[in-house]
Symmetry: C2
Subunit: 362 residues, 2 copies
């Protein structure tokens, strides 16, 4: 796995990203914001959503498919809830702004909820839920994404991997950070198996007739990912329902493109058959803990929850129960010290951007 | 399956339930409310949560373990959010009252959210989310329950089957009603397999060392249910995280007993080692659709969503994609016409209650 991997300080990657966004006329503030989202993903070890995606944003901006200077505005509003139009800006800029509006509403009304249309890929869902913790709030974040997943008993891609994140602060411990795609597995894992010419576990994918398969090519050539739960017997209808929930809150409710009509994130992806709204959709929520319980008391209760769950009797042959967010926290400690490891194709992408823009890299 | 089954008009079962609750001094209004929750469960085909559970409520009330005349009150409040103490009332009474408070908050503040402690088993989660539809709101409902589920890589019961429900109204179609337990399978299915002396599918349960097993006795004798996703490879960590989310929102946030400390619903269940709060916990939410989008426009978009998903290309050998809530809607149509089918042990339970209280049955 470590062949050809180079490590870069997080700050170096962040500065480069800022310059790349600036190159397209993104304001300094927005460029810093966008780079911050990518950077946190790299720092927390979610490689698929960090600087590895910079070339895709670069492509979309180059072709004018994303608006570098969006006029993000509230288009409907009622106290604790609102709908926001992202003016086709970078999701990395629209997302943080909409999330901030949700948090400001929470300060004023006890909770705040924003459904967002006319936006684009927003990075990792937990970037947003983590922000709420800084204000002693519980943070929620969801987004729809390009279709990849079949609903249970379907034979085609109809939903994205539609993630849900929610975060809860602790007093002495690190926070509980839930961040999960509502598919059984990530698409990246299917691509890796294809490259290695290896089968994938039963329950991850179906072919273009809707039958379960372990051959990654069957999924890539017109098949689909399965929802969390995989098949009916193991609760595949539940993963489908959760993905539907995300699709509706983010995109039906905001006026964005839902389900199979979500526009593609990358250039080479299929263009939807028609449009049923504007861009993709996000959904953010923030709840003031103080409106429910004394903040310190809540955090102490979370501490106790963490400690009790960490001490669960271990299943034989495992290291025992983790707290949601543990793997990312562990990675963060290492990467803040040692830097961000990048695979050669990612480095090549960044060098390519550097060559085309004149922004120095390395 | 139909051996010895008798059918009863829903109204007959509801009237009987009302009288049983009245027998313990529950007010007429509260008794009607509680019976209504049980009745809707029977009507929608969720047999495990309807009148089949009346004997358990009867037992708890007989022993004075549930307060028949609770003083339900808001103990902390900030505009759109609040915490409610159910005064150890029936969950079937506390739940509807707290849900109503959440909906009233939504009318006033755009959304309303209530975390509830000191309560008991509240019936089906979707009873509450469905109520919000009557007010053109999106309804949310969650509860924690007695421990049955192991977190991924744990070897003991630490969480309940912790359901999540959310409902969205349509214009021409029936609403989308999501209602799912965050475990891979329901405990009732393990009991049925045990009675039939049959194995269960791999992925439902573990034994008392945390190893997957297909022998239902292994689970019943100190093992546990697995979370949705079952094992690491298929996303078992995601089901665990969703269950944790429900546990925290319902019970850490409200001051109820969370995780393994949730008190048992029935008399013969294990008493937790200690108490970390009051009763079990619920969480209700309501969001005014009008705060996000014109209500009719939203309902039309949901109609289109339903129609597009219903027309998904069918997986071979299946009847194709269902919309969440379809099975319950279909059952409701049949049962409203033909009555509620009850198995002999359930009928015997009701006869037993009749004998002990003098309330006529049949």
């Amino acid at each position: 796995m470590s062949e050809g991997i180079k490590k870069y300080p997080a700050q170096v990657l962040k500065e480069f990203s800022i310059q790349v966004f600036r190159h397209f006329g993104v304001s300094q503030k927005d460029a810093e914001q966008a780079a911050d989202v990518l950077n946190l993903s790299d720092i927390r070890g979610i490689d698929s959503h960090g600087v590895a995606r910079l070339h895709t944003y670069f492509d979309m901006l180059t072709l004018g498919k994303i608006n570098p200077k969006p006029n993000i505005k509230i288009i409907r509003d009622k106290k604790s809830v609102c709908t926001i139009d992202g003016d086709n800006g970078l999701g990395l800029v629209v997302g943080p702004k909409a999330n901030e509006i949700a948090m400001e509403k929470a300060t004023q009304h006890g909770s705040g909820w924003a459904s967002v249309c006319n936006t684009n890929h927003y990075g990792i869902a937990s970037y947003y839920s983590l922000k709420a913790l800084e204000r002693d709030m519980i943070g929620w974040s969801m987004t729809n994404t390009t279709k990849l997943v079949a609903p249970l008993w379907g034979a085609e891609r109809m939903l994205g991997t539609n993630p849900i994140s929610i975060a809860f602060p602790a007093l002495k411990n690190r926070p509980i950070v839930i961040d999960l795609a509502t598919s059984a597995a990530a698409y990246g894992k299917i691509e890796i198996a294809k490259r290695k010419n290896e089968p994938v576990p039963k329950g991850w994918i179906i072919n273009n007739e809707g039958a379960m398969t372990t051959n990654p090519n069957d999924m890539i050539n017109g098949g689909a990912l399965l929802p969390l739960g995989s098949e009916r017997e193991l609760g595949g209808h539940k993963g489908y329902a959760l993905s539907a929930m995300v699709d509706i809150l983010t995109s039906v409710l905001s006026g964005a493109n839902w389900g199979p009509f979500a526009p593609p994130f990358a250039l080479r992806q299929e263009i939807p058959s028609r449009s049923v709204g504007k861009g993709i959709g996000h959904f953010f929520g923030a709840m003031e803990i103080d409106g429910f319980m004394d903040v310190t008391e809540f955090k102490k209760r979370i501490d106790e929850w963490i400690e009790v769950f960490r001490n669960t009797k271990k299943a034989k042959g495992t290291d025992g129960v983790l707290i949601p967010g543990d793997p990312e926290h562990q990675e963060e400690v290492i990467r803040r010290k040692e830097g961000i490891p990048l695979m050669p194709p990612v480095v090549n992408d960044l060098i390519d951007i550097s060559r085309r823009t004149g922004i120095p890299f390395e």
